[in-house]
Symmetry: D2
Subunit: 338 residues, 4 copies
C-alpha cells in the first residue's frame, strides 16, 4: 500500500504517521521525500487496512493498494487452470462447454424435448430458469419449485447435467436436490448474503457478472464464495450497461482474456443476454471462443415466438444445431474443440 | 403500444398481424400505411403484452410502449404528494427530513451518543447500519442483530425513529421488531425476492436507487413493493456509476425533479455515498434541497478516523451541526424548512 | 414519425394538431384514440421535421422517429456491400485487410523499416501518425508535415498504401498529396467542420468511432462525409468509454455485426487502442475477425520500449508476424482470408 | 511517480531498473522491498516521463503518477480565485453571472429583442449560436458570419458582452472581431488544434466539458489554452453521457465543487443542455448555484415552439424573468448575489 501525503507535510508529521501505521497495523513504513510530495510505502500484511480509514488521516491525500484484494481467486497464487466437474462434464479444459436451454422452463414436455435436441446438437449442459428475477412485478415469474423438478426430470431423460438460477437463500435446499450447478444472476452478483450461503455448500456455482460491476468486483464476489469453502466457481461475462442502446447490453469481450490472466477459474460467456437478439448470438459466440472462453451459455427455445420470457433472444433448436456446426471450425482454429 | 413493421410487409401480412394481435391480446389495432414503413397502433389494455414477445414476429421491426409500466407509483393516477409517517415523523410535506447517523453501529454507547447529538442539531431520524453489504468478504460485516438492538435502545433514549438496511428476507422479523423504517440498499434494489417480502409488511421502506439502475427501474422496484400491498415507499437517489472517477459515484441531481414529476412518493438524497468524501456533503446536500428533495440521509460518526466503515465520507457531530445551520437558509430560500 | 399526446387531450385539440402538422410539413396524419392515450402517426417525408420542434407543442408528450436519419450510409437503400479501393488494395470484400505501423512516425528510417517488415508479414496498408492529438500539451505532438513526407517515402519503398490521421481542416492539402487514406480520429468524429471538408475530396476516409458516441452517431458522421459527395468511408470500432477500468477502453464487439447490418460500408476494428496493452491485441483481433470485421488496424513499433507514444500497446514486428500467422486460420474458419 | 514491479523481480533486476530510470530521466529512485511486491518511488521532475513508456519495461507491472499533470490550471500553485473580465463584466467574484440567449441566432431583430429582455431580467452576458455543430448534416447549421455580426449589433444595442461558439480554427479572425468571449463546445473540448489556436489570442474562452470527458481531461484542455499564453479560461459543466435516458445528459453537479477545489478558474454550469428540457432548467440552475457555480448559461428564445434548434430546452423571456426572480434568494442564502 502506498500513501501520498498532502503538500507541505513536515518531516515531524511524517514520522508521526509512520509510527501510527506501524503501531496500528504492524506494518513497516518507508517514506520517500520528493520535492513537492512525500509518499510512504507500506510493507507487510496490508490486507486488513481499509483505504478509507487511512485516507481519513488529515495529512494523507490519497492511499493506493498495489496488491489485488482477492487471494483464492488470484492466479498469482494458483498458476494452474482450475478444472471443475459439473455432473460428469469437465469445465476449464481444452473442450469448450455449451450450456443451452430456454430462458424459462414452461412445462415438463418442453424442457425434456429441448434437452434432447440441444444434447444431440452438441450441448453439454442444460440451462433453464425456474425462479425468474423480472423487472416488472406484473411479468411471468417462473414455475419455481415445479420448474426445478422438471429440470431434474429432463436431466434423467437426456443425461445432461442441469444449471438454474437461484434468487433467494431460502431456495438453497431445493437447488441442492434438483440441479448440478447453481447460477447466480447478474442482479445478485453482489447479494452477499446469498454468496455467503453458496460458500457453505458443495456444488459448482456459475457466477454471472453484474451488468454494472467491474471485473475486480466480479472476482471479489467469487472470493466471497471461495472464502466460505466452495472452490468451484465458474465466472460468466454477460454484457455490461453502457450508453450504447443498439444492443441490450455491451458484451465486454476483453473481460475474457483479462479474467483468464487474473484468475485460474473457468470463464463462460452468455451471448444471448449480451446482445439481446437472436441474430447476434452467432458473432458474439464466435468472438467469445477465440477470445478464450471456456464455455458458452445460449438460450434455445422450442417456440421462441410464444416463449414466456426473452423469446427475442432465443434460438430455435434447428438454429442452435447449425450454429454449433459453425462454431466447431472456429474452436478448432485456435486448437480447441466443442 | 406501437409496432413498426419491416419494410416491404404486404397488406395481407398486416391484416394477419392485426388479427393475431386482437385474437391473442384482445386489443384493437389501427394500421397506418406510410410510403416506406407501416406502423400498427394498439388500443386497449396492453399491460400484459411483452415487447419481446411481439418483436419476435417475423414482420415486426420494433415495438414501443407509450405508457409507463408502473401504476401505483405513477403520479398520473395519484396526483397528490404522498405523506408517509415514520415513527411520529411526517415525510413528504413542506418540512425537509434529515436522517443522520453512522455507517455502522459500533456499540450501544456510540449510537446513543450520536443519536442525541444529531437530534440536537436538527436530525429527525437516526440512521445506522447493522447488516453491512461489503464488497470484500474480509471487511467488517456489521454487528448484525446486536446492532439492531442498539438502534432500538438509541431510539428509546433519543426519541428519534430509526432506519437500518436489510440484506436478506430472513432478517425481516428482526427488522419488524427493531426499526421504524427498513432501508433497501443500492445493491438490493433489484433483489426482487426481498422486495416481494417487503410488500407484505406494514412498515415504511427507504428504497435506494441501484448505482447502475435507471429512474424507471427504480420506479418499477417501488411498484414491486406497492403491488404487494405496502404503499409506504420513500425513494432515494445516492449517485450512479459513470466513467468519472473523481467522485465515488456521480450524484444524478436531475433524478430528483424527474422523480417528483413521475411519482407521488417522497424522494430522499444521500450526499454522503454520492460523493464519497466528507467535504462534498455540503454542496451536494444544498443542491439536493433546492432540486426538490424531501429528505437527506447523512453519515455522521463520533470519530470518523476510527470508524469501522466509510469513515472517509462521515462528518463529525460538530460538522453536522454547523452544516444544518447552513442548510436552513437554503431550504428557506425555496419556501421550505428543516 | 409518431406523436404521443398528453393525457386528456380533447378530440378538438387533436384535430388542431393534425391540421398544424399537415400545413407546416405537408405530411398526412392518422390519429389513433386509445383509452388513456392518443397517438398520431405521420405519413410522408418527415426527414425535415425535428423531434424537438414537434415536442414543443403543448399537447405533445413525446415524438418518435421510426426511420433511421441516415440515408446514404443506410443498407436499406444500398443492400450490397461497398468495396473501396485504397491505393491498389480493395477493402470490403472477402479478404480481410490489415493496416499496421507505429502510433507515431519518428524518422524516415524507422517508418521504412517497419513498412517492409509488416508488408512481409501480411499487412496490406501502412499506418503511422504525423499529427498527434495528445491529451497533454506537454506530450510529443508528432513530426507533422515531415512525418507525412516520410510516410510517402515509406509507401514508395514498401509499396504499401498509407493511412494517417488528420486533426485540422487546414492540413487537408498536405494529406491529399501524401496519403492514400485519411483517418479521422476518435476525438474528431463529431468535428463536423472537418467532416464537411472531407466530403468535398476524392480520397477514402477511415472514420473512427468517438469513444463516447453511439453506433447511430457514427453513421450520422459518415453521412456528413457522404452527403458532401465522398462515398468512400470505412468505419472503425476502437473501444468505448465505460465504467470498467481494467482496459483502456471497452471494445464494443457487437458494434461490428450491428454496423454490418445497418450499413453497406466496410467496418474495421482497432484492437490496439481498444485494449491499450500489447497482449490484448491477439484475442481482440481474433474476436473482431469472427464478428465480421473487414479489416484491422494494429500498432507495430520497431522498439516499443522507446516509442514516443503508446508504446505500451504496440507489438514488435516479430510479434506482429507471429500474430498474423495465428489470425489466418481464424479467418479461414469463417471462410475469409487475410 | 511510483512503479509497482512484477512478482519475483530479483534485487539485481531492481538495481538495473533504478539505474535505467536515473540515467534516462535524471530522477532519484527509492526502492521499497515488500514481502511479495517491490515498488520504486521516483523523486524529481517526472513530468516528462510517460506512464506508457515506463510500463513497457518487462519488470514493471504498473506505474502511477502521484501529481496532477496540469500546472497552470492547478489551484495548488495559484491558491487565489482567478477573476476574468468579459467586456466590462467580472467573472469569478461574489456575483454570479448569467449568460442568456437563444441556441441559434435567427435574425438581427430576434437577437436584439432577446438581448434587451434578458438584460432587463438580470442577465450579464448575451449568448447566441452562429456556427452550429449539428449531429445531422441535414439540420440547420446556423447563420454563420452573418449570425456573429448580428450578435455584435445586439451587443451595441443592449450593452451586453456576447459569447458564441467557434467550431473551426479558420473562424478565429471573425470571432476576434465580433465576440467578447469565445465558447468551445462539448464536441470540441479535445479538438487540440483549436485549443492551441485559442491559446495564442487575448480573449476569454468559455470551455465546455466534453460529454464523455473526465474532470481531469477538462483541466488538461484548459492547460492547452493556458500553456499557449491565454490565461482567461472559464470552465463549464454541461452534463455527461451515462446510461440514464430520462434526461438528455446527466448533470454532474459534484463537478462544480471538485473543479473549484482543483483549479482557480471560474466554473459555469449549463442547465439547459444538461437536462434538455425547459422545466428542468430551474431545479438544475438552483443546484448549480448552491454547489458553488460562478455563472450559468441559459437558453432563452422569444418563440421556443418555432426555434430552429433546441427549442425544447429554451425558456421564453417571461419564464427567464421569473426564474431569475427565484434564483436571487437562493444565491443570497449562500451569501452571493446575481
Amino acid at each position: 500500500m502506498i500513501l501520498v501525503l498532502k503538500q507541505g507535510t513536515t518531516r515531524e508529521k511524517v514520522d508521526d504517521i509512520c509510527k501510527w501505521l506501524s503501531d496500528s497495523y504492524g506494518v513497516q513504513t518507508s517514506p520517500i521525500f520528493g520535492s513537492g510530495t512525500t509518499i510512504i510505502g507500506l510493507v507487510g500484511d496490508t490486507s486488513a487496512i481499509e483505504l478509507e480509514a487511512v485516507e481519513m488521516h488529515e495529512a494523507v491525500e490519497r492511499a493506493m493498494k498495489v496488491q489485488e484484494p482477492y487471494k483464492r481467486a488470484n492466479r498469482k497464487f494458483h498458476p494452474d487452470d482450475t478444472l471443475i466437474k459439473v455432473g460428469g462434464v469437465e469445465i476449464g479444459g481444452n473442450k469448450i462447454c455449451i450450456a443451452a436451454g430456454p430462458c424459462s422452463v414452461e412445462s415438463e414436455d418442453q424442457i425434456k424435448m429441448v434437452a434432447d435436441m440441444v444434447r444431440d446438437s452438441g450441448a453439454a449442459l442444460l440451462r433453464g430458469g425456474a425462479f425468474k428475477p423480472r423487472t416488472s412485478p406484473y411479468a411471468f415469474q417462473g414455475l419455481k419449485a415445479e420448474g426445478l423438478m422438471y429440470m431434474k426430470r429432463a436431466r434423467e431423460s437426456s443425461g445432461l447435467p442441469v444449471v438454474s438460477e437461484i434468487t433467494n437463500p431460502a431456495q438453497l435446499e431445493l437447488f441442492m436436490e434438483f440441479v448440478d450447478m447453481i447460477q447466480v444472476g447478474t442482479r445478485n452478483m453482489q447479494n452477499f448474503e446469498l454468496l455467503k450461503e453458496l460458500g457453505r455448500v458443495r456444488k459448482p456455482i456459475l457466477l454471472k457478472r453484474g451488468f454494472a460491476n467491474t471485473i475486480d468486483e466480479l472476482l471479489m464476489s467469487a472470493e466471497y464464495i471461495m472464502s466460505g469453502g466452495n472452490q468451484d466457481v465458474i465466472l460468466c461475462e454477460r454484457g455490461i450497461r453502457t450508453f450504447e442502446t443498439s444492443t441490450r447490453n455491451t458484451l465486454d469481450i476483453s473481460a475474457v482474456p483479462v479474467l483468464k490472466s487474473r484468475t485460474h477459474l473457468p470463464v463462460f460467456v452468455d451471448p444471448s443476454h449480451a446482445g439481446g437478439i437472436a441474430w447476434l448470438v452467432e458473432p458474439l459466440a464466435k468472438a467469445a471462443i477465440v477470445a478464450g472462453a471456456d464455455g458458452l451459455i445460449i438460450e434455445v427455445h422450442n417456440d421462441p415466438k410464444h416463449a414466456l420470457s426473452d423469446g427475442q433472444q432465443s434460438l430455435t433448436p434447428e438454429d442452435f444445431k447449425s450454429l454449433v456446426g459453425r462454431l466447431r471450425p472456429v474452436a478448432e482454429a485456435i486448437g480447441r474443440s466443442i
